[in-house]
Amino acid sequence: MFGKVLAIENTKILKQSIFRIELLISFLLIAGLMLALYAISAGDVVDGSQVQGDSMIESVTWPGAFIQVLQLSSSSGLGAILVIVLTGAVTAQEFHWRTLHLWLSRGVPRAGYALGKFASLLLPVLLLVTAGLAAGSLTTAAASLSINGSLRLEQVDAAQLVMGVFRTAYTLLPYAALTFLLAVLTRSSAAAIGIGMAVSLVGENLAAQLLSIMGGVFAEAVKFFPSSMANEILQLNARIAPALDTAASAPLSPGAIPSAVGILLYTALLLALATWSLSRQDLTG
């Protein structure tokens, strides 16, 4: 039954206009941002701030640009916003259109529905990251040719680039799961998206800053926030361009593998809460 629900929900989401619009937004915004970065880096070189200019040039030319683009598509960039909007809209509308009632009244178990619905978001999330990467790659290819005279393809680890897309999409899962839970609880797109944005864009940062100020055990707890663990995982994207000097910033989180497990636990917990909430609801109206 899970497979049938997944097939149904995948068909629905891929044909939905909000997903197509988000793909376009991801493509255009990342292309625009990379062009803006290129313009800034060119300005820095002209101004003579060579060190800053070198680092900027690295981030707008291949292979460093791939790392930059994936960072922009991650949970700390545009990715979280796109995923929260998509998840909130496509989940809450099931209650509004009563299509949820349609499947459940045909004997689909509620848990199977919830898991299938959430799993159907994985492909769109991956496609959103890929669209961003495609847009960034195209714009920075031009910058690379203009600045370096070549694409420096020999410096790109293609397998790591593919892994990078998966890693970046993976860091978005807790935010998708949180919004999914909110949409099930409130049955409202606006509430799910609004609260999801507030928690992930403001609440998490604010809490991290407060706990850091408090110090001690509280400051340690920040390491286990989804954003901290996502950053830890995203640092692995440096492997896309091993030749570059991409010294990691001071580690905050508990390491890549524990972070990956932590992200999985956050996602599983939020998804379990959403499934539990759905299983208790009376679907009237």
Partner: protein, 308 residues
């Protein structure tokens, strides 16, 4: 449980906070029956149907579909049902055909031609490739009916299936239901259109304030000695005639409407004798046989008075 019982409800109750929406409902639907489920707004019909379909958790009681207990976390027997409850659940950006195709994914054994068959059955073949969101209310209702019929269900559950349809569409649905029943499909139909229900249904249950106040075959409920006949007469001065009839022994209700007076609880012969005895001669007298509407009104009013 007997094999030909398709739907069995035992002591079903549902409470929303302090509101008792459904109380001690018992009913049984057998294979091949067209079962009318009647009641005023707020009587608990849609809540009961929601519990049958596993959408609403009963507070207590049991529901069996094809002998299998209905659970809100998925019941295999629900795969043998089709349902249209309230406004049809459609995906507005998909065409009628795509909506049906999507539903068909739940039933891999369905032949591909079934989608075209259903589109023909509900009269949507020409609009099959238009987005469902652009359909009129009646067309949406037809597509909802198509989705309910797609899997060739053994039990079809319909809640106000002709909502938003024009008279021709309503007649088509009535004929369609009769045809499906002839093919052996069991139909559980909730509707406000009592004339329609009377024409189509073999059995009915009347629900009022969450309780079943009558249940049984239509013929038996409307048979001799069941329901109250009414006498309708035309008089020169209906108001005065009405006042006079109020004092007639056995009269349960008198209502003047234009030049007509309707009396319940007494026979036509007794009314004529009483009026002649009091110097009044009616212009015209007719006995209106009890129909589902009069029975329904009588039952729901009686039970409201008792509970009030």
């Amino acid at each position: 449980m007997e094999n030909d019982v398709v739907l069995q409800i035992n002591q079903l109750q549902k409470r929303f906070g302090t509101v008792q929406a459904v109380q001690n409902v018992n009913l049984s639907v057998r294979r091949g029956e067209i079962y009318g489920f009647l009641g005023p707004n707020g009587a608990g019909k849609t809540t009961t149907i929601g519990m049958i379909l596993g959408l609403i958790h009963p507070t207590s009681g049991e529901i069996y579909l094809f002998g299998q207990r209905v659970q809100s976390d998925g019941t295999n027997a629900l795969r043998r049902t089709g349902a249209l409850v309230g406004a049809p659940a459609l995906i507005p950006y998909l065409t009628a055909r795509e909506n049906l195709r999507l539903m068909a994914k739940l039933y891999p054994a369905l032949p591909r031609e079934r989608i075209d068959e259903v589109l023909d059955l509900v009269g949507l073949h020409e609009a099959a490739d238009r987005p469902a969101g652009k359909f009129s209310t009646g067309m949406k209702q037809r597509l909802g009916l198509g989705l309910a019929l797609l899997n060739q269900p053994d039990l079809l559950i319909l809640d106000e299936p002709t909502n938003g349809m024009d008279p021709a569409g309503m007649r088509e649905v009535r004929l369609l239901l009769a045809g499906l029943a002839e093919q052996g499909m069991t139909i559980f139909l909730s509707s406000h259109l009592l004339h329609e229900v009377e024409q189509v249904c073999t059995h009915v249950a009347v629900l009022n304030k969450g309780c079943v106040v009558a249940e049984g075959p239509v013929k038996s409920l409307l048979g001799p000695g069941k329901g109250q006949p009414t006498v309708r007469l035309r008089a020169n001065s209906p108001t005065e005639t009405g006042r006079l009839l109020m004092h007639m022994p056995g009269t349960r209700g008198v209502q003047a409407n234009g030049e007509y007076v309707t009396v319940s609880g007494v026979t036509g012969k007794a009314v004529i004798q009483y009026l002649v005895m009091h110097g009044e001669t009616p212009e015209e007298v007719m006995v209106v046989r009890p129909d589902l509407e009069s029975l329904y009104l009588e039952l729901t009013q009686e039970s409201s008075q008792e509970q009030g």
